[in-house]
Symmetry: C2
């Protein structure tokens, strides 16, 4: 009774793909909808297809990591990472770091070895930092109601976790699970996108506004989180043979349509998403004895699913 | 420059064992101490050895997971899990679930198969829930200053993350990375310790006070976080051959001293720990451009290290 896989020992669902397979409503369901109920009720307009011009595929020997790029933030870094992908800068480079409960990082293992480093052709090596940006009222912000330890206001912008400060009139992306950024050296302008990282553990919010975020892993996180941890300081791999090779890193629009991963993500500016947040603030599944009545930015699921409609083609 | 393993692309340190190897202070270090500085300055009295009567070893084919049990919380579950370990209940059972960004879970894969389930000899099958307990002023609580989304007050009790509510006069352990609890079915009293789980991702704080926590993984988390993710709903493994066998699960006191893992954890009720929290609220390493000035309960490191002194023997 306690250990059968079908039982509800801990029936939170986080893996959204998983959840969709269990979206049917049990007979004992309470009157208020669960997230599973809401997703089952969602209409096509509640979802948006990933834009191939704003999507990266990082193909590893273990499979594909799909990264959505931000349209409204770090536009310099987004453009430069796409330029790097288009000159095939990353192909044959490697994941060089996996630090427990922190980040996985990839780039050129030989970047600091004169003569051996991968050359950048047309893209920029470094860019001015894009840690935050001016508050723009035209950018819809779905604010969460329960506050945040780190920022005055937190919520979602076009599917990405974000924060803003009404006093300084700045807004920024936040370091939560799956977010992707551009590593840098000590100088704020020393990044540019040739070295990338993804958050694989507890949201390291202390990094917010210290480094440029520009995207989010929307599929394939388990390919990064299950990587062997590096045993050198900060989780770097000690030996070259431990590096995980990157077969290719491409802008989805450059990949033949038949080879694309056809995904859609739940919109975060809809009544359905508001209902989903409310349902996660107050869990109604029969397993829960006590509803938190609150939710942290990092605990709001951002559902992603396979798209049945043909993908947009550019 | 951007990708050399020795550079400080993202120089947060989370892996405490790792951090200790990098504890030297660079010439450019600011006047205020970093966590590495503080640990380097720590005295033996800032640490406490794990008590073998309050420590579990779960030995997997990949290595050992060390779990510290709570002395002040869920005493019924702590006693019962020790009783289960002492009748070798877990030996030969398995990890049956690894859900991305959520939990790993272990117990009897055949628990619900009549005639095939592992029998419990002397321990209890189920126990009354121990989700929270009465506030006891004699239990020292190191409170964090920056608030929390879920609880009125959060901090640390004897090295464990905890919360309390001055209004209801209740206190409880919190679901943060590495915390270990007893899975249960829908009834609050259906758990007991025969089915266990550890948090392997973002702190699922909505579970607080919904399930009994009674310990924390202090070494070997990477053995759980890198497990292949289960592909059945909620991350259960679909096939028996995917189960990860538990060689043994023992109370450390029952293991010959030569085979014990001799660890000590940083005390959380000392001026040194207070300085460490302050240093993590305001990161001073040269990489940081902006100090958060705040910290979330889940982002406070709880250092663990190999102990040089002989382990206490009972």
């Amino acid at each position: 009774m306690l250990s059968h896989p079908a039982s509800a020992l801990l029936c939170l669902f986080i893996g959204v793909q998983t959840s969709l397979t269990a979206a049917s409503t049990p007979a004992s369901a309470p009157a208020l909808p669960t997230m599973a109920d809401l997703l089952a009720q969602s209409r096509p307009a509640d979802w948006r297809a990933l834009d191939p011009e704003r999507t990266l595929y990082m193909d590893l020997p273990s499979g594909r990591v799909v990264i959505e790029l931000t349209p409204w933030f770090a536009t310099g870094h987004v453009a430069n990472v796409k330029a790097l992908a288009r000159e095939r800068y990353f192909d044959g480079l490697a994941i060089i770091r996996a630090q427990e409960n922190y980040v996985a990082q990839w780039g050129d293992p030989n970047a600091e070895m004169p003569g051996k480093a991968r050359k950048i052709q047309r893209a920029a090596r470094t860019l001015p930092a894009e840690f935050d940006r001016a508050w723009d009222k035209r950018i819809p912000f779905t604010r969460l109601p329960d506050g945040d330890v780190y920022a005055p206001e937190v919520g979602f912008i076009e599917g990405f976790p974000a924060a803003r400060d009404p006093r300084s009139r700045r807004m920024w992306l936040t370091h939560t699970y799956g977010m992707v950024g551009a590593g840098r050296d000590n100088s704020p302008d020393s990044g540019g996108g040739a070295e990338l990282y993804a958050v694989i553990g507890q949201a390291p919010r202390q990094l917010d506004r210290n480094v440029t975020l520009f995207g989010r892993v929307v599929q394939g996180m388990e390919l990064l989180t299950t990587l062997p941890r590096g045993t050198a300081p900060m989780g770097f791999y000690e030996k070259p043979q431990q590096h995980v090779p990157i077969r290719s890193l491409r802008v989805a629009a450059d990949v033949p349509p038949a080879d694309r991963t056809n995904l859609e993500v739940l919109r975060t500016d809809t009544p359905l998403f508001a209902a989903l947040v409310e349902s996660r603030r107050n869990r109604r599944e029969p397993w829960f004895q006590r509803a938190a009545g609150r939710i942290d930015l990092s605990n709001v699921p951002l559902p992603v699913r396979a798209r049945k409609e043909p993908a947009p083609v550019r």
